[in-house]
């Protein structure tokens, strides 16, 4: 495509009246041009095949009893969806348990992931030596993927010989080995804790950018008016960060609701599926139990929940801004 473009034209400047097939003038006067479509085509091809088609295909799958290795996929209509709301069906109990697990994780991780990074960003926002170094240190875990983070923390949290229990024991805290990965509520504490460690840097960076975006003159003016640190924080910083809050909270909620790797690698859903998140269960149902229709239905229900939460979130935070 690049080659085409350059060959088509010479390099000499000529007036547009010479009639180049895709000059800007031609576009704005409304005559048809292939150019936009040429530019869009490669991406649109990918987009259609791997996002639009699956989104619809998934719905189609959810209306069947679907195992791709079997010759036939019988139509079951809305049965997969109905099953999810029928107590006693093979999937309802596990599905809502996994939704609950996702809910618990989101509920506990989001506050930490929204507040602590803000505090870190506030500290980093002052100019001092070594600031970039610290910023890099806190962000570093984020570039590691969940696989590395998962296997590492599974080792550190091991009740018998993990680093955490080793130091707890050395400090004489608690009686005996804390079951970080095998019992509640410890498993939740582990999962939330390691997720905060892993992704705190990401949110901190965003807050930092937001803080730097706030007009410094506002602070100067407030100081002149005699406002103290706390007042400046509450009346300038917080309102100034409103748009960033929306972004951070939304992204964090979505990320937490999509949690998979941590449960898969560190607790494996233990104890007894209590920490098995919705994503984990959906993947299991579709790709390990070979009930893809049921899994697809579950994923749409989850998507609906997430959409709802995103909208509510948006409304709530946007409304506050308008006040």
């Amino acid at each position: 495509m690049a080659a085409q473009g350059i060959e088509q034209t010479g390099a000499q400047p000529t007036p547009p009246a010479a009639g180049y097939p895709s000059g800007g003038k031609a576009e704005s006067t409304g005559s048809f041009s292939w150019t936009p479509y040429v530019f869009l085509a490669p991406y649109l091809l990918l987009f259609t095949v791997f996002i639009v088609v699956p989104a619809i295909f998934g719905l189609w799958i959810s209306l069947h009893n679907w195992d791709y290795l079997l010759p036939e996929q019988p139509w079951v209509g809305l049965q997969n969806y109905v099953n999810l709301f029928t107590p006693g069906s093979p999937t309802a109990g596990f599905f809502w348990q996994s939704m609950e697990a996702t809910g618990i994780f989101t509920l506990f991780s989001v506050p930490f992931l929204v507040i602590i990074p803000l505090l870190v960003a506030l500290i980093l926002n002052q100019s001092f030596r070594g600031r970039n170094f610290f910023r890099a240190m806190y962000f570093a875990p984020y570039v590691l993927g969940v696989a590395v983070v998962g296997v590492l923390w599974q080792y550190i949290l091991n009740p018998g010989f993990g680093l955490i229990n080793y130091y707890l024991g050395a400090l004489g805290i608690g009686e005996g080995a804390v079951p970080w990965t095998t019992a509640l509520p410890w498993a939740w504490i582990s999962l939330v804790g390691m997720t905060v460690w892993w992704t705190l840097g990401f949110n901190a960076i965003i807050y930092l950018a937001g803080l730097q975006d706030i007009n410094q003159e506002l602070y100067e003016a407030a100081k002149v008016d005699g406002a103290n640190r706390w007042q400046r924080f509450v009346n300038i910083t917080i309102p100034g960060l409103r748009p960033v809050f929306l972004f951070v909270i939304t992204v964090t909620i979505l990320a937490s609701a999509n949690m998979f790797g941590q449960s898969y690698l560190v607790t494996d859903g233990a104890p007894a599926n209590e920490t098995r998140t919705a994503i984990m269960y959906i993947a299991e149902e579709g790709l390990e139990n070979f009930r893809m229709g049921s899994a697809a239905a579950m994923s749409y229900i989850l998507a609906l929940f997430l959409a709802l939460i995103s909208i509510l979130n948006f409304r709530f935070l946007n409304q506050k801004e308008e006040d």
């Binding site: 350059i6 010479a18 989104a55 998934g58 993927g145 969940v146 923390w153 080792y155 748009p243």
Partner: protein
Amino acid sequence: MAAAAKTEGRDAGGLARKLLSYAVLLLLTLIFVAPLLWMVSTSFKPNPETTALPLSWIPKTFSTEGYSTILNSSSQSPALLWFLNSMIAGLANTALILVTASMAAYALARMEFRGKRFLFAAIISTLFIPPIILLTPNYQIVDQFGWLDTLLAVIVPGAAGAFGVFFLRQFFLSLPKELEEAAMLDGANRYQIFFRIILPLSKAPLATLATLSFLTNWNDFLWPVYVLFTPGNLTLPPGLAILQGAYTTNYAVIMAGGVLASIPVLIVFIIAQRYIIQGVARSGLKG
């Protein structure tokens, strides 16, 4: 007099605050970096030492058996193959994204055509689709193409995401229109403008997108775990999962795998830190 005293008091308070800040920052750094150091340390221990108490940060016996086990390219855990696969997939996927997203973003930013608004809205709305609903159907689609258990499955579908388009479009919109208009007056067509003017000006966001895309692909976990199966065809993340399962308590091996998986991204991070952080920050502000 009173003013001077006030300033002094403020300075003392300022110093204390500074020290406190440094202390907190150092403590945080310790918390963030310590686990990574532990991973490296463990990878150089002989296996029995990794589960025996008391624990020590410095290996009592320095050993590379963890590394030799996984680098041995045995059929069991061909970590070098995993590394290679991850590298190929990451680079190919990044290239694909850069090419397709930049062109589409330019069209959306600067060209007029029927259905433009609708298309843009449709693309952006997919940012809110939870990836999970695409898991099963994409598995089937990829199967139909015969891509299962091949790198194509982890290269191509991942380039369909809307982030790249969104990100670059933002940037293109911020470029002064005069440049393009001048070029058009000179008779250049869109292709020329794109390749000769726009792209050269976009080095920074392209670098950012490239870095973020590479990182995302390198670390992708859920999808590769399910579309890659033969040990020789895995990328590092599913490879690590298998490693954890196959070597359950041989932590020297598992941590060696973790180190291997971390080195490239940490190198990329150190080099491209600025781009990554800028990219993350920008998406937060405009999004």
